[in-house]
């Protein structure tokens, strides 16, 4: 998605030359949020239902090399090597390799019935086993875990969430809305095991039961591991780029080397990019919210077009990059919409409505507003967008 948006952005900014997409997945770019919702409960839905439309600007001069993963980068020669050994030379490189789900934290002993959800293929495999009556155990209570729980519970599965947190969505929503989302899940029959992790698995050849660290044993036909993601940067080891926790980039989304030098022809966008956002502070972070692949792609596209046209990119890059993160989630009849960086907050405050109905909650770090989240109340939440518009003074 971030790669697609970057290409569109470069075309919009005047770049008319060739573009090659090199992708590990066999599918053309698609929208991931429905994978934990509509696609997971709708038999027959596949790539066609989630594919991004390819705009006319990308119909010419574009080649797609799909089902091939990048395995190394030679920044000096400006060449990417794929897993078939083929070399892909470039004038400008966009790193949009995204994330992959973290694996089960204990040995899976090769048991079947253990799933993650990141790709379309993951979702189709999971849909096939989320049958009514299935005993589903979800490890992790972030957005992916909670959305799968809601979908599975609606489909008639027996759902348990095992989490080290005190409440679901704790990091993103804080204790107030986290507790409310737990209540809503419990209303639909989902059981929570908080402050818990997995100790062991029982079964052969597929998982049949899981044992929690407290000793509790749960029946389990389907175990879903939803304990976060890691950036796909292994292929960049040895490239000279700074890739600890994502690809470090400057305000122009240009990659920074381990020596601190900016690579003006290498960009990183989407979930894999780590950058400071002057709306909040000067700490570079990876932010895994859905609107940021689009925001980073648009921005990188402008820089790439300027770079390849031989223009001076420095003024554009120095203008800074301050996208307003936004996320949303549908669980049962709760439609969450948020702006900002709620998980930087040290406290949250209900400012309108009721949490068990519709509401608006503000998030503060010290006395500074860093985020807002609503259940329903769209107009009230949308009105906050401009409240984040002034960059924080840099201390």
């Amino acid at each position: 998605m971030a790669g697609l948006r970057t290409a569109e952005g470069a075309r919009r900014a005047g770049y008319a030359g060739p573009i090659e997409f090199l992708g590990a997945e066999a599918h053309a770019p698609y929208n991931r949020p429905p994978l934990s919702k509509e696609l997971l409960q709708t038999e027959g839905h596949g790539h066609a239902e989630v594919a991004f439309p390819i705009r006319s600007a990308l119909e010419e001069g574009v080649s797609w090399v799909l089902g091939r993963a990048a395995v190394s980068l030679d920044a000096a020669r400006r060449v990417v090597v794929d897993d078939a050994g083929a070399e892909h030379p470039y004038s400008a490189l966009v790193i949009a390799t995204g994330l992959r789900p973290r694996a089960l934290p204990i040995d899976d002993h090769g048991l079947g019935g253990i799933h993650v959800l990141r790709t379309l293929d993951d979702a189709v495999a999971l849909r096939d086993v989320l049958r009514p009556g299935a005993n589903v155990v979800i490890l992790g209570s972030g957005f992916v875990g909670c959305e799968i729980a809601a979908t599975a519970a609606k489909n008639g599965a027996t759902v348990s969430i095992v989490t080290q947190s005190r409440v679901p969505l704790e990091r993103a929503l804080g204790p107030l809305l986290g507790a409310e989302m737990r209540r809503r899940h419990e209303e639909h029959g989902v059981r929570f095991f908080t402050g818990e992790s997995l100790f062991g698995l029982v079964g052969d050849p597929g998982v049949e039961r899981v044992i929690l660290t407290s000793g509790v044993m749960l029946e389990c036909d389907v175990l879903i591991v939803a304990v976060g993601s890691d950036p796909n940067t292994e292929w960049l080891e040895g490239s000279g780029l700074e890739v600890s926790n994502g690809v470090l980039v400057d305000g122009g989304l240009r990659a920074v080397g381990v020596d601190g030098a900016v690579h003006p022809e290498i960009f990183a966008v989407g979930d894999v990019a780590r950058y400071a956002n002057p709306l909040f502070d000067d700490v570079p972070r990876r932010v895994e919210h859905w609107n940021l692949p689009t925001e980073t792609g648009k921005r990188a596209g402008q820089l790439i077009a300027a770079q390849l046209a031989g223009d001076d990119c420095e003024p554009l890059a120095a203008a800074g990059f301050a996208p307003l993160p936004s996320f949303w989630s549908d669980q049962y009849d709760a439609h969450l919409l948020a702006f900002g960086m709620t998980y930087l907050a040290d406290r949250s405050e209900l400012v309108a409505g009721r949490v068990d109905d519709e509401c608006v909650v503000e998030y503060y770090r010290g006395d500074k507003l860093v985020g807002v989240c609503g259940i329903g109340m769209r107009s009230a939440v949308q009105a906050y967008r401009t409240r984040f518009a002034t960059p924080a003074p840099t201390a």
């Binding site: 948006r5 569109e8 919009r12 929208n31 949020p33 989630v50 991004f52 439309p53 705009r55 006319s56 859905w290 609107n291 689009t294 936004s326 949303w328 549908d330 439609h335 919409l337 329903g376 109340m377 769209r378 107009s379 949308q382 967008r385």
Partner: protein, 64 residues
């Protein structure tokens, strides 16, 4: 002209499109999306941006 179609079965009225192209998309008093079905060609970039930011990917933009 540009034709705007919103799949109202998909639309969850998040209103992200309103910010990109307020001339075309609005949330009404009940927080439901309302939009006009046609817009002039010079709005193409704004309308594509609105389609891009739709969480449900419910907006289809076509050049008529």
């Amino acid at each position: 002209m540009i034709r705007i179609d919103v799949d109202m079965d998909k639309c969850q009225h998040y209103g992200q499109c309103v910010f990109e192209a307020p001339e075309v998309f609005q949330l009404n008093a009940d927080d439901k999306l309302e939009y006009v079905a046609e817009a002039p060609d010079e709005m193409l970039a704004d309308l594509e941006a609105a389609a891009d930011v739709c969480p449900m990917q419910a907006i289809l933009i076509t050049r008529a």
